[in-house]
Assembly symmetry: C2
Homo-oligomer: 392 residues x 2
């Protein structure tokens, strides 16, 4: 540094208000929650304006929902403005790869004249939320967002965080931002039409967060495997609420909500999961891929002498009893040119995504995560074999 | 709100480190500032990697600069990695309207395999900085950015903030984000080739911030009109440093760095400025438009009885002596269909940009800004007439 240099170091602190709400029948006329929330924002000389995006799959499963949303805003017309009929948008992982869809969302926000004090409301699964919230986060440098997630996975994990994004260049979430939503409203009534596969998918993320953060919560899950699997609403509500709280606690207290450092403790089981999803062309749902990813990492950790066989068995049994097929044949698929397992490429991709340093979360025992900076290739291959032999 | 609702209110706090550096000859081999800054970031298992974007106009004016940047990284090759030759990018306001250019920046970042712990360095004027930093802020949800602004305007205003953006749908900064750069390095040597028009353009923003925030600084400017106008390097360095510090002070202490509320005290003179720039197809440079915008608002404020004639005259004289042509004939151009002044549309556009509420900063006297929530149309038209009569 030259002697005449002047260096001024500043800290810039930004505070976001984040409202996490659990309500029932959020678009029923006798439920004023949404009306109240939308009017909590600072005044803008009139009724707050809202543009609603509605997941097409959800709309098909709940044929009256779109009309119900319109009726809700009509009922509260003294205090709310809906800019037009809710816009239907295709959901699922593939939507995040669709750049035209992303552009259409931006155009729709522009057409509706949504300003920084108006709202974009998105009702749907995690992919639709990611896509719409990313678009809203870059219009006018960020428009207020209300997330109303409609799957277990979105209500307890994907939809309640502060990240968003779309895929590009064959990389998951290559484009995206950190942008805390104005509010998240979890409504268990929206879950009623989920397929069983998607129902349990969200439970895998709750198991994950319990394993990392809260042994008591894991014990509670073990005691409630039957009601959780069999769609008991009271049980799933409790699971979602605890899981969502643990996520928000992590975001608030980690000291690094925008993930400027390398640690990602919540990504337990995720390097395998991301790769399995891509290799399967997204036919393996996210939670199922995470279940497999956690078990693979546990088998690896057992081989390395870090986790007991009893703990690995207890966690495997938990996931099996919830209905997960843990072993995925794709784990063994070899690249014909190199004879390497394709799954191993996931490690490098995860490394680049994290920012150059590999940081894999493993588990000593329930509630005791730790980080490793490398995975030994011959040991992970041996772990894959052991995984197959012991679970099939 | 339904009685069984649960509402959890959280605060999410995010802290950014922001380094503002004044150095000379930042790409001279004997200047280790950039090397030091790039190595201040958290480790990534090797030498930090950098991708450099270089403003084409700057490169033309400083023909050796691109090679000099390459030589710099070669000299520091033990501790730095350059991903490739600096990429030339066209500058000026029109670049921000070019969505293909924006896509090309994203593709270039992807091609260079820039991760979240690598750097995008941008050397150029405010528009190139806005464009490149917006792209970098959404790749992998935000890549570290180093801004090296090359105009007076970029060094004291446009380049030292935390905003970025591009234009879309004929609206300035329709897309963009708030993303504090890792560092800003101001190097007065880069200013030597600026046209006189661009040289004084940046001084207008310093006059603005002095008028709003720092009467002593305004007095200093009044005493240094001749050296400032005549490109005395010592004077311009002092002006840039004080102006940049006042900006950062505002961002840090306003309590609202991401502008979630409506107030924009730094936008004094800017509603007229934005509109004048568009109406002139960007032939009126930003600082010149701001100078005109401030004087129009002062004439309005004088008519309303809020500002003394003496203050308006003092500020007008200051700007005139710096070389600004204050009266712009475009202020009078009428829309043939409506007979309305086109400039008045700027008020509505500014209102939407702010988020639905008009908030115009005016000046009681130097150092005493205040906000009004409306502008009376007949009075502003009368102010335009008075402005023309008194300054032409």
């Amino acid at each position: 540094m030259k002697s005449q240099d002047i260096q001024l170091n500043y800290k810039i602190s930004v505070n976001f208000d984040y409202r996490l709400i659990f309500s029932e029948g959020v678009f029923s006329k006798d439920n004023s929650t949404l009306d109240k929330i939308l009017n909590e924002g600072s005044a803008q000389g009139g009724r707050p304006r809202s543009l609603v995006f509605l997941d097409e799959g959800l709309s098909l499963a709940h044929p009256g929902l779109r009309k119900k949303i319109e009726d809700y805003f009509f009922h509260y017309r003294e205090s709310l403005t809906l800019t037009g009929s809710p816009l239907l948008i295709p959901g699922g992982e593939k939507s995040k790869q669709n750049i035209s869809l992303f552009k259409w969302v931006i155009e729709s926000i522009q057409n509706a004249n949504i300003c920084r004090h108006s709202y974009v409301i998105v009702v749907g699964g995690g992919s639709v939320i990611d896509l719409v919230c990313f678009a809203a986060s870059i219009v006018h440098r960020g428009i207020r967002q209300i997330r109303i997630p409609s799957t277990v996975l979105a209500q307890d994990d994907a939809g309640i965080g502060i990240k968003n994004g779309i895929d590009a260049f064959n990389q998951k979430n290559f484009l995206g931002s950190f942008y805390p939503p104005f509010a998240v409203i979890n409504d268990a009534q929206l879950l009623s039409t989920l397929s069983q596969e998607n129902w349990i998918s969200g439970i895998a993320e709750a198991v994950k967060v319990a394993l990392i953060k809260d042994p008591e919560f894991f014990d509670w899950i073990l005691k409630n495997l039957y009601p959780l699997k069999n769609r008991n609403l009271e049980a799933i509500r409790k699971l979602i609420q605890r899981c969502a709280e643990l996520h928000l606690l992590h975001i608030r207290t980690s000291g690094d909500p925008f993930e400027m450092e390398s640690a990602r403790p919540l990504d337990f089981g995720h390097w395998t999961a991301h790769k399995l999803e891509t290799l399967s062309d997204y036919t393996i749902p996210h939670g199922h891929a995470v279940a497999t990813g956690m078990i693979l990492d546990l088998f690896y950790s057992k081989r390395m002498g870090w986790t007991s066989a009893a703990d690995v068995e207890k966690i495997s049994n938990c996931l099996s009893q919830l209905g997960f097929t843990l072993w995925q044949p794709l784990l063994l698929k070899k690249n014909p040119k190199t004879l390497r397992y394709l799954i191993l490429d996931g490690l490098n991709e995860f490394k680049e995504h994290l920012g150059g340093i590999l940081n894999i979360t493993l588990l000593k025992r329930v509630g005791e995560p730790f980080q490793v900076q490398q995975i030994e290739e011959d040991q992970i291959i041996a772990a894959i074999d052991e995984f197959r032999n012991e679970t099939t």
